[in-house]
């Protein structure tokens, strides 16, 4: 980060929510608060561009989030509202200009978070918050962003299904970097013209979304498409070979079940092969993206400053 900053460049680091706490440990309030404060401080230290408020982030109470925001953490949420004014408590979006492009990140959290979590959130934030409808908040945000941003990215704590609903109901969102269930996506989930990703949970992976832009008004293509198709073909080849082996080992009985499965898989394989051929012929030009998950290996250079914070808080044995 220091190297990039010296060269007048900045990495865009974003989080889509549920950063600070989990439901199981938040009841140990002192330790959970210390951890949350270190995470907030580290996020500021990294120069995070935008951090969406997730439902679990409200377990510490909105006052904790207000404090983090006042310290410089770029929290965003388009549908976490002040109940008195119905105005968002934090900025609904941030716009970052990079490489001559204006990239907007806006945030959403779900109306309800499950039978155990929702009452805990209500208890921690009695009368202090109102969660607005995500689709309406997204529509309103897109209206505000018209003419202000070239690229719109939703940081979502809604979950994959609701992300797809929002993307279909609100055209103009280029990408959703989502969470809530803590899934991971090896390739984009597409809803309309929007590409959706999740990057696992518990800090096990970091998602890397690489964008190559020629004209942001045009659609994006997946640069990993050829690789994804080849992986599907390889997987089907493996299954077909396994089924053929099992069929040979079948002692004289009815093998029609194997034949049907092999036939169906061969049909799928050939269809993917045709798609792969077309993808290779067309090539990939114009706006494109490449998403990959980087596993967080434990053999990593440590950050001395953050290490001191953790030791100072008595959490290094945790």
């Amino acid at each position: 980060m220091e190297k990039i900053q010296k060269g007048n460049q900045r990495a865009l680091v974003v989080d889509s929510g549920d950063l600070f706490s989990n439901f199981q440990s938040y009841s140990d309030s002192e330790k959970a608060l210390k951890k949350a404060q270190i995470i907030g401080r580290a996020s500021r230290h990294m120069g995070a561009t935008a951090v969406n408020v997730g439902c679990l982030d409200l377990l510490q109470g909105v006052d904790f989030l207000r404090q983090e925001f006042s310290l410089g953490l770029p929290l965003v949420s388009a549908n976490l509202l002040d109940p008195a004014t119905k105005v968002p408590i934090f900025p609904p979006y941030v716009i970052k200009e990079i490489g001559g492009l204006r990239i907007a990140f806006f945030g959403l959290l779900p109306l309800e978070s499950g039978p155990e979590i929702s009452p805990a959130i209500r208890q921690a934030n009695e009368g202090k918050i109102l969660i607005g409808d995500p689709v309406e908040a997204a529509k309103e945000t897109l209206r505000k962003l018209q003419g202000k941003a070239d690229l719109v990215i939703l940081l979502s704590d809604l979950g994959l299904y609701k992300d797809q609903m929002v993307a279909l109901a609100v055209p103009g969102i280029h990408f959703v970097l989502g969470g809530h269930e803590g899934r991971f996506t090896r390739k984009a989930v597409k809803a309309g013209m929007t590409h959706i990703f999740q990057s696992s949970h518990k800090g096990m992976y970091v998602g890397q979304l690489q964008l190559f832009l020629e004209d942001p008004s045009k659609p994006f293509k997946d640069q990993g498409e050829v690789q994804h198709l080849q992986e599907r073909i390889d997987g089907l080849d493996l299954n077909i070979r396994a089924l053929e082996g099992a069929k040979k080992r079948q002692p004289g009985g009815d093998t029609s079940g194997f034949d049907r499965s092999i036939q169906e898989m061969t049909r799928q394989r050939n269809a993917f092969q045709e798609e792969l051929k077309r993808a290779k012929e067309v090539g990939i030009q114009g706006n494109r993206f490449l998403f990959r998950l980087e596993a967080l290996d434990k053999i990593l250079p440590e950050n001395e400053e953050v290490k001191k914070w953790i030791s100072g808080a008595g959490l290094d044995k945790d």
Partner: protein, 55 residues
């Protein structure tokens, strides 16, 4: 001492990886002629983990 060093190496892996990724991959570099390359590093559901969960 060794145990302490081992623990230290695991500390704050998330920040460390983001720093490493940030250092080696420029967020906005020029790719092919006339195009801009941007890198976005994303996390979700970290849920209070100070270093990556091993499982």
């Amino acid at each position: 001492m060794k145990a302490l060093l081992f623990k230290g190496a695991r500390l704050y892996g998330l920040v460390a990886v983001l720093l490493v990724c940030s250092s080696f991959l420029s967020p906005a570099a020029i790719g092919q002629a006339g195009e801009t390359e941007i890198l976005i590093l994303h996390t979700n559901n970290v849920t209070g983990y100070l270093f990556p969960c091993p499982t």
